[in-house]
Symmetry: C2
Subunit: 197 residues, 2 copies
């Protein structure tokens, strides 16, 4: 027996979300089928409205307006500090930690010549212009450690004005981590980054 | 920092689905934000269209039309057999097993006087009329075992014409089950339902 078209459509759409399999999608759809027409319309509208989501002209963060909440915040602008991250989720992770009060710049990836990702794709030119325009004093490169990430950091340091202080986020043992189970690279980095107590 | 309204709306809607928490909803929404406007519109339309889902006039199964695929199938009607289940998912489970070729009747619950669910709420009257109209010979009660389920089965048997053969689905050890870990009630039922080899 085939399920009705309207159910199959929703199952199909839900199972396109990574991590949602056919079984989960079916179970969720049968629950959704009990929702009122109003609730389903609200859900559908929210989904359609997501297409109107814009990226902040300055930093690349998702925003309903041309400029995101952080770039519109004059206090954060005054900090003269920009944190460079690979993507939106990295930016949200740093915001969650609550330890950073400056601006962000979202690269949207890392340099990867083999995959055709060059400085133009990451809009590094506009970033350099932005650093100059805002008279930024401090750039923190919060790019994940990987061959491509390291290359991206070196490249950005090279193209930034020489009077800008460029730091890379610290590597070492994560909180709650255990030396016994950590890889050798992390331990090597942690020893390199030792700090006077 | 607050996420843009359009993202928050989708997170809010997704996290209304049972089993989807705030974190999962956020992760899924950030993935959805990368979808094209066309894909998001298709998702939204599928969701809104779900409000048009009807229940089959005869059996109560979800259907896009007035009568579901099973009730419109003349071969299944000819079987003169109706399987009574609590809800749509139970019907789908039996269909998946591929071992039943007759019609269904979906109660939408079980008798539960304390919760205000009486014979009228389960449309048992219309079921009896349907059994008479179709000249059904065999009713299989595939209602889950519970106090309310047992009461519902007794009630249905009582109100059906006496010439209709009424069976209840068999209880016992599930395939792959292990006596060691099964509850005493199941083992008692399994002994009661022993069968000549």
């Amino acid at each position: 027996m085939e399920l009705p078209e309207s159910l199959l459509n929703v199952i199909d759409q839900l199972s396109k979300i990574p991590g949602v399999g056919d079984k989960t999608a079916t179970r969720q759809t049968l629950i959704l089928a009990k929702w009122s027409a109003d609730d389903l319309n609200a859900f559908g509208d929210a989904m359609k409205n997501l297409a109107n989501l814009k990226a902040c002209v300055d930093c690349g963060m998702y925003s309903d307006l041309d400029y995101c909440e952080i770039c519109s915040n004059s206090e954060r602008k005054e900090s003269k500090s920009v944190c460079v991250v690979e993507n939106v989720t990295d930016c949200l992770a740093i915001e969650r930690s609550g330890n950073y009060e400056g601006l962000y710049h979202i690269l949207g990836g890392v340099l990867n010549p083999l995959m055709g990702v060059g400085p133009d794709e990451l809009k590094i030119d506009s970033f350099v212009k932005r650093v100059r325009g805002l008279e930024v004093k401090n750039v923190i490169l919060a790019v994940n450690p990987s061959v491509e990430g390291d290359a991206t950091c070196s490249y950005i340091k090279q193209v930034l004005p020489s009077d800008v202080e460029v730091d890379r986020i610290g590597f070492g043992i994560p909180m709650g981590g255990s030396l016994e189970y950590l890889d050798t690279m992390t331990i090597a980095k942690a020893l390199e980054n030792k700090k006077k107590m």
